[in-house]
């Protein structure tokens, strides 16, 4: 009995030493996961997830503090990608976080008073203009985050859904005739 005990202790000590050495020898720093999550997020910086931007949300997911279904602009596909990346199950959007069609902000230039509030709100500097001068959205850089809409004192900003044009038209999925029962 005593021998057995000694053997187990000796075994544990030996293996413990090996593992201790290995943990020093193969130490890893940093967490590359947050960066990978950030790469999947759509970078609208809209804050709909409850975090002030995509990177903080990515950090929160990486730490396991946030769920993966909080990003409406990423769409269901975004959740699928996150689920695959993190090896967790897909989770549908909640009631109050449904994705909307993609849109860009538009400033009604007649009404704009040039207060610069929207410029300060824009997370990606996609609004051009200066104080007392009319502001304009740089449509190609607008992420559609809607953060500029509430601060506007004269409600001159509206979100225009992106319409299908020749430049962004996509071929449709072929209709698979056999799916319908004849």
């Amino acid at each position: 009995m005593i021998t057995a005990l000694w053997i187990m202790v000796a075994l544990a000590a030996l293996l413990g030493m090996i593992l201790g050495y290995a943990s020093i020898r193969f130490r890893v720093e940093g967490n590359p996961l947050a960066e990978k999550i950030d790469a999947v997020l759509p970078q609208t910086q809209c804050g709909q997830c409850g975090y002030p931007g995509c990177k903080p949300y990515a950090d929160a997911i990486a730490k396991g503090e946030a769920d993966i279904n909080l990003c409406p602009p990423g769409g269901e596909e975004g959740i699928h990608k996150l689920a695959e990346l993190l090896g967790v199950e897909f989770k549908p959007f909640g009631e109050n976080a449904q994705p909307k069609p993609k849109a860009v902000a538009f400033i009604d230039e007649q009404t704009c008073i040039g207060c610069t509030l929207c410029i300060q709100a824009c997370p990606v500097d996609a609004i051009a203009g200066a104080a007392k001068q009319m502001h304009t959205i740089i449509a190609s850089e607008c992420t559609g985050c809607e953060l500029c809409v509430p601060p506007c004192p004269v409600d001159c900003i509206s979100m225009l859904p992106i319409e299908e044009q020749l430049t962004n038209w996509k071929w449709r999925y072929p209709v698979y005739a056999l799916r319908q029962t004849s």
Binding site: P174, L178, T181
Partner: protein
């Protein structure tokens, strides 16, 4: 709106399957000639079960019946199962085989085009593992067995498992030439002695060698009509020939000659009708050669050393498992890419 191209060449899945069925005809005809019409009953049973299962599964999966029932693929599966089991088997044997093949090996995977395993061979494997006893009662070719059953008696046996008074099943049936070879070799006989037994003909089993030749004939038609790729049968039969040839040269008393391997068991029907199922075989030329070689090697190993009388079915499904990998790793070079550019 329709997308280009707006013209097509008229060839369809059902025509391809139909030609494969035509190609089976000489083999089946010779089968009837040498072993009596019981096989036709067996085929009818298997085909009916296959079509019924197909219809049921389509109904359950909410898919249209007509295009899939008329594509002849279930018909072909039924035929292949009937041809690979003993003709004088109780009626439920082909029925279970077909039903399992169509329901599990085909429709659980999404039906035509999605099944990774050859349904007929899965059906066969399930039968030989579940009902080994029933699967060994092969009919003797006419003139070899001690007594002969009439068609009515055969039908009676198939459906009721009752033989006419005074007849023994063992007197009517025998094990296959391959099985006999294996058993007798174990008992210490040499290959040449065994082949002098009355059940053997010139090349392999009496009668069955001619049936195999019939299938080979049909297979040649498929090759000429370019319904099946040449790589598969060539690689399979070539490997089988080479391996058995080498072993036969080294030790002719214990290893059967190559032509014996070719013309016994399911080698011919396997080479031209089973391995060449496009859905479960590789799509690249090199992949097909690898697949054929693998199947030939496994068939020889299982026949010579394994526990089952014939290895074609297991070799087929074992190689079926490898198909996705073979396809992935034998992607051909594309236009304008050098070999090393590839992934």
């Amino acid at each position: 709106m329709l997308s280009s191209p707006f013209i097509t060449r008229p060839l369809s899945v059902d025509r391809i399957m139909l030609r494969v069925l035509y190609a089976l005809v000489p083999g089946i005809a010779l089968y009837v000639w040498y072993f009596g019409p019981a096989i036709l009953v067996s085929i009818a049973l298997a085909v009916t079960a296959a079509l019924a299962t197909e219809a049921l599964m389509l109904k359950l999966r909410d898919r249209p019946l007509r295009p899939f029932l008329s594509d002849y693929s279930a018909l072909l599966t039924g035929c292949l199962i009937a041809l690979s089991i003993p003709p004088l088997a109780p009626w439920w044997l082909p029925v279970i085989g077909s039903a399992f093949a169509i329901a599990v090996a085909k429709h659980l995977y999404g039906g035509l085009g999605s099944n990774p395993f050859n349904p007929a061979m899965i059906g066969y494997a399930v039968l030989i593992i579940s009902f080994p006893h029933e699967m060994t009662h092969w009919l003797s070719p006419q003139g070899v067995g001690q007594s002969v059953l009439s068609l009515g008696q055969q039908l009676h046996y198939i459906f009721t498992s009752a033989l006419p008074a005074g007849m023994q099943l063992d007197a009517l049936t025998m094990s296959t030439p391959l099985d006999t070879l294996k058993t007798q070799l174990h008992l210490g006989m040499t290959v040449s002695d065994i082949r002098d037994l009355p059940i053997y003909g010139r090349l392999a089993g009496k009668g069955s060698e001619m049936v195999a030749a019939g299938f080979a004939l049909g297979g040649l038609y498929l090759l000429v009509a370019r319904i099946i790729p040449w790589q598969l049968p060539l690689a399979f039969l070539g490997t089988l020939f080479a391996l058995s040839g080498v072993f036969n040269l080294i030790d002719p008393t214990h290893y059967a000659p190559p032509l014996f391997h070719w013309f016994s068991g399911a080698a011919m029907i396997g080479a031209f009708f089973i391995l060449t199922d496009p859905i479960t075989s590789p799509t690249t030329a090199r992949g097909r050669i690898i697949f054929g070689i693998g199947a030939g090697l496994l068939t020889f190993l299982i026949r010579t050393y394994g526990g089952f009388p014939d290895g074609v079915a297991f070799a087929t499904i074992l190689m079926n498992m490898c198909v996705p990998l073979i396809d992935t790793w034998t992607q051909p070079r594309i236009f304008g890419k050098k070999k090393e550019d590839k992934r």
